[in-house]
């Protein structure tokens, strides 16, 4: 998927992505010539269709987690289907704030271990020592974690 600035005949550059709500995926591109910015918005159906393929518009910034699609998309998974061999935070030296722990507690157990690992690795990669809800929001947008 590429965007072309017709007036400049220049390929536009991917800038950022956001999840503004209601299943919309918003992606911003800009023209390196004239600076014009455009936003591509997908409806929930289109967002779902793309994510069903296991691909990330804008490119994947973190490695795929084991059974990522199954864990993030199956709605009828049982709570104790998966067990982590070790907690990621103990390995990566990252702590969770009380608010972040409360928010994580709302994630279904089926996918919780994977979500915790992703946020923890994000924090480590960005030099963040404590994960807060704000960090989770930023990571969710930057990493393209639709539905997590």
């Amino acid at each position: 998927m590429k965007f072309l600035c017709i007036e400049c005949d220049r390929q536009m550059t991917f800038e950022e992505r956001e999840l503004p709500g209601d299943g919309t995926l918003a992606i911003a591109f800009s023209c390196p010539g004239c600076g014009r910015r455009v936003g591509m918005l997908t409806n929930p159906f289109e967002t779902q269709l793309v994510s069903s393929l296991g691909v990330v518009i804008g490119g994947r910034t973190v490695p795929e987690q084991p059974m990522e699609m199954v864990r993030s998309t199956v709605a009828t998974g049982k709570d104790n289907a998966f067990g982590e061999s070790r907690g990621p935070e103990s390995v990566l030296g990252v702590t969770w704030s009380t608010d972040a722990v409360e928010r994580l507690a709302k994630v279904p157990n089926f996918v919780k271990g994977m979500v915790k690992r992703i946020y923890t690795e994000y924090a480590r990669d960005h030099g963040i020592t404590e994960i807060t809800p704000a960090v989770m929001d930023t990571a969710r947008t930057e990493l393209g974690l639709e539905g997590m």
Binding site: M1, K2, L4, I6, D9, Q11, T13, F14, G23, P44, F45, Q48, L49, S52, L53, G54, V55, V56, I57, G58, G59, R60, P63, E64, P66, M67, E68, M69, V70, S72, T73, V74, A75, T76, G77, K78, N80, A81, F82, G83, E84, S85, F110, G113, M114, G147
Partner: protein, 260 residues
């Protein structure tokens, strides 16, 4: 007035999304994971209720008892039965750094099945908008099948048996995901009706380049008269690997395992 816009490939700056590259990477992970698997064999049939899963489970156990390292991938995502047939433990699957460890079931058979992941008695359902969900559900199921191949730490296997659901679709998906088409063992019951359905499935597999390894005729006895296995074997030039009666002795499975 025409826009005269250049084509996708005329624009040479990188595609930030690289969707094709991401799909290619998915396939690469499948190939890498299966590099230590000597042989992938799909157990299939165009017909439901002929005993594919029953044959798969007992064949896997017989192979394991003969000293071969065997895995079973239950590709029947909506009606998974392999976990029960193989007495899989009901403990959580362990997630390691880059993979999930398979359950170790009866006779040491390594197993992954959707039954291990779903709440008891609940159907496989996906998150997402209900409207037009048939469009993306197929993609979700293929993704699950792909992850069963690429994200399970199968380790070194002599044989990975893939238990397919009835019909043709899942075989086509499997063949697309694998680096090369799998060998195929086809299960039928003796009746001509079963033979008709199995013929279509077997033809589809052969036309995709899959080696047809042979036919297993299940539920042999007076209840289901016919010669479907012999007819199919003659038509496709492949052997009848086993004829399984309603109440088989262990020797039947050992003999089948030895022929595969």
């Amino acid at each position: 007035m025409p826009l005269n816009i250049r084509t996708y490939h005329d624009l040479t700056d990188p595609d930030a999304s690289g969707l094709l590259g991401q799909v290619g990477a998915q396939r690469g992970r499948v190939a890498a994971r299966l590099a230590d698997v000597r042989r992938v064999v799909a157990v299939m049939s165009g017909k439901g209720g002929v005993g594919k899963s029953f044959v798969t489970a007992h064949l896997a156990r017989a192979c394991a008892r003969a000293g071969r390292a065997v895995g079973v991938l239950d590709a029947d995502l909506n009606g998974p039965t392999a976990a029960r047939l193989l007495d899989a433990p009901r403990t959580p699957l362990t997630v390691r750094d880059d993979a999930v460890l398979p359950a170790v079931a009866a006779d040491g058979v390594r197993l992954i099945s959707m039954a291990q992941l779903l709440e008891d008695g609940r159907p496989l359902a996906f998150r997402g908008p209900e409207a037009e969900s048939f469009v993306w559900r197929g993609a979700q199921e293929v993704a699950a099948l792909r992850e069963f191949l690429s994200d399970i730490a199968w380790g070194q296997l002599d044989l990975l048996l893939v238990d397919l659901p009835p019909g043709l679709g899942r075989f086509a998906e499997l063949a697309t995901l694998l680096p090369t088409p799998p060998g195929v063992v086809t299960v039928t019951i003796p009746t001509p009706e079963s033979g008709d359905a199995v013929r279509r499935a077997l033809r589809a597999a052969v036309e995709r380049g899959a080696p047809a390894l042979g036919i297993v005729e299940n539920m042999v006895g007076d209840q289901f008269p016919g010669d479907a296995a012999d007819s199919l074997a003659a038509e496709f030039g492949i052997p009848v690997l086993a004829r399984i009666p309603f109440h088989p002795q262990d020797a039947v499975w050992s003999e089948l395992a030895a022929r595969l």
